[in-house]
Subunit: 113 residues, 2 copies
């Protein structure tokens, strides 16, 4: 994590793949091993590992190794940064539209010929 922007790049990139979003959904129901995460996907193990690497480097998930088993966990508040980014824009745009509505309401009711 270098700065907020870099995180968002990685986070949005991590979310831009259906299989990775599926893994996030699976981890939302509890920690899981690579085997469990690979089960619903019809892709080769290296692809699964690559997806997990992308998810982990984005900060959305983390893993821990116990013996020979690596278990993946959803990061707490995983989507908070994405949610904040969206909310900031929504507020900003709503305010901008509100100001536009106000401006239009304040205009004298004369239409160009």
């Amino acid at each position: 994590m270098i700065d907020g922007q870099v995180d968002l790049d990685r986070m949005f990139h991590a979310l831009s793949d259906r299989s990775r979003r599926g893994m996030i959904d699976r981890l939302g129901r509890g920690p899981a091993s690579v085997t469990e995460l690979a089960a619903p996907l019809s892709v080769a193990l290296p692809t699964v590992l690559k997806h997990l690497q992308v998810l982990e480097s984005s900060g959305l998930v983390f893993s821990e190794k116990s013996g020979r088993v690596r278990t993946y966990h959803l990061q707490q508040d995983a989507l908070a940064a994405v949610e904040r980014w969206v909310e900031q824009r929504k507020t900003r745009w709503t305010t901008a539209f509100g100001r536009l509505d106000q401006l239009l309401a304040d205009e004298p009711e004369t239409l160009p010929e």
Copy 2:
């Protein structure tokens, strides 16, 4: 737009680049020409056009051509799909945690030796 999943792939991909997010912020303040969108970026025009193509194919922005000038606009409710996706997970996870809390609260207060 083939189905919801395809859109989310493209939408998250479109958002995974700082310059493209900057363009979305610019368009949040009102429609803009390619020149206006390129102004704050220190990248070549073909790169700007590629960014705009990615944004347009994601459904986040649209453009219209009047004479020789193409103007870009933010799509209404541009981030609604992303927001909905995040909100669904938040609700689901909160509910899951709530059930876990309830289960723990219902447990008899005996700790293993």
